[in-house]
Symmetry: C2
Subunit: 217 residues, 2 copies
């Protein structure tokens, strides 16, 4: 693997490659050319070759890519060849939603605990897991060797939750709270704003409507 | 508003501007310079000016932006100044998660119904809403004037679900199914791959680890 700096855009495309490769594996396809892969995935063949060359390139000119080989390489690049132990902070609607969602995840992502400050929720069962007291989060992260903290708190509590998780030793934060948070440099941060995606959808819907009106004039 | 083609990258940044503007409004801030806004949001002042110039620009040189004025303009651009009626297809873990999530949405996004093919789930109450029979989706969309269909089905059913929703007349599809789907040109499509975000997080965690190891040599 080349040790060059890989752009965020490439990193964002790799999981997409991986999804298509898994589909191909399921269908028993062993080899695929960048041209065929391009038709399937909707990027140009040149884009695909360029992306994969970031990692030294796996295809041999004229022979195509080994589907399983490429998928395994991408797994290794993304670090999906190991287990990730996760906790959720915040057991409200959002935390409940994400806890539910983690059940549908494939690979080594394992939800180990859900934590909450609200005394009405602590001790209750939610999706087969007892909601734990937020006060115990640091001990739990240390003892259970938690890698990833998923923040599903309200905006006001998100930064404090992140500080506590980082102090306790998580290596990554997956933030669903509706606020941008800061973490130390040695901790990775990935932010999901579902509402941003919904707002973009609203924009595109209105954009199409405007164009339709325009073309009727 | 200028009638130029606005890039997807700008569209993706507008909801972020909007979130910060709402925070400022809550704090009672009326005006903000692009410099101050830049410090807050983490883009360069020049990037912000350039983005907002796409829409004709709202700031007056030396006077800064009107916080509420700018937020209202962004609302209008994104089409958030109206109601969107939504249905969810698929009441499994993922659909349940997203139904829960929609409760936390601000603005005009309204979940009107949840539909399912599984007879064990149809008729059950989920988060205060009765799960309806998928067979009735077309009638419901027409009668209830549904704008957005949210696809939370399994991969195998996603394209058929999208076809049915588009036939029934939705104007936008928000796809959470783990497969890429196609829609007619007059329908907007926005895809969420939460797992892509989690995989990117795993990559960044491993990247940081590699660098730490490298620097210890």
């Amino acid at each position: 693997m080349k040790n060059t700096k890989i752009s965020n855009a490439v990193i964002k495309r790799l999981p997409r490659y991986r999804r298509y490769l898994i589909e191909l594996e399921k269908k028993g396809v062993e080899k695929i050319s960048s041209k065929e892969f391009s038709n399937m995935i909707g990027y140009t063949a040149s884009q695909i070759r360029q992306d994969l060359n970031n990692f030294g390139g796996f295809g041999q000119q004229g022979y195509g890519y080994s589907v399983t080989g490429l998928r395994e390489e991408i797994d290794a690049i993304l670090g999906l060849d190991r287990e990730y132990r996760m906790v959720i902070l915040g057991a409200g609607n959002l935390g409940h939603a994400i806890a539910n969602y983690t059940k549908t995840l494939t690979g080594g992502f394992k939800l180990c605990g859900v934590f909450e400050t609200n005394p009405d929720l602590i001790g209750k069962m939610q999706d087969g897991m007892e909601i734990q007291n937020y006060d115990n989060i640091v001990d739990f992260v240390e003892k259970e060797k938690i890698d990833i903290g998923i923040i599903c708190t309200n905006k006001e509590s998100a930064q404090e939750a992140a500080d506590k998780l980082c102090f306790a030793g998580v290596k990554g934060i997956w933030n669903f709270a509706r606020v941008d948070i800061e973490v130390p440099k040695h901790v990775a941060l990935e932010i999901v704003h579902l509402s941003d995606s919904l707002h973009a959808l609203a924009y595109h819907m209105n954009d199409i409507k405007k164009k339709e009106k325009g073309s009727k004039k």
